[in-house]
């Protein structure tokens, strides 16, 4: 099963867009691996655009947490574009208090566009 991610550098941030409708148990490990690949050696700020993701289960949530952990304290990992079902998983598990979550992609990248 594939896990297509698209990444581009905007200003001093790496914008990673998930191009799959699901981050579930079947692709959670692949998601982690691909995130490691695309973020390796890149900018300190990483924004994950999840607006194409309509379904995330607890394995997917665990994978997103794992990404934040391997990026470490020196790099900033931010989320944008959570769809309602995905937002609910973050809210129910209180993980919304751990992550920086932007209401939409525009808000997340606006400061970058000005800066660059």
């Amino acid at each position: 099963m594939g896990m297509e991610l698209n990444s581009e550098t905007i200003g001093n941030a790496l914008l990673v867009t998930v191009c799959e409708p699901r981050i579930d148990a079947a692709v959670a490990i692949q998601f982690k691996d691909r995130m490691r690949e695309v973020s390796d050696g890149g900018p300190d700020r990483v924004i994950l655009d999840m607006s194409a993701v309509s379904f995330l289960d607890s394995s997917g949530l665990g994978a997103v947490v794992a990404v934040m952990k391997f990026l470490g304290k020196e790099r900033s990992f931010e989320l944008a574009g959570l769809t309602p079902t995905v937002a609910k998983v973050f809210r129910l598990t209180r993980m919304d208090s751990i992550f920086t979550i932007h209401p939409d992609l525009e808000t997340a990248i606006a400061p970058l566009a000005n800066a660059s």
Partner: protein, 146 residues
Amino acid sequence: MTDDLRLVFPGTTVAVRTALLKMVGNLQQLDLDAEKIGSIELVVAEALNNIVEHAFAEQNGRIDLRLTNGERGLYCAIEDDGSPMPDGRPPIGNPPDLSVDLQDLPEGGFGWFLIREITRDLGYERVENHNRLTFRIPVGDDFTRS
């Protein structure tokens, strides 16, 4: 979905995904909004993933999923012929402890917490060599707010 759906499939990650996609296709024919369908998919996914990961950790087997649309919500019954729950009952599902250092944040253990948050009337039985998990997902009230 008329008012009943039954799916029988092997206890593998890919088969679970396929079953969930089929279930959602059926649910879309009922009068449910997208967010409610998302909650149903989430809780059934958690129950099924746990079966694959734990009940079938050391053996292969089949899962039998039934959904019935009733007055007080959607009734779900899931049977598997895997190993029984530890201590003979489903986990308490404590909320994850988030007051820890970044590197100690939990990457798992959310499954039963989510199931217990979203479902009502949860039941578990070991019948012969089968596990039988039943629950109701209320449809209509705003159970989705935490």
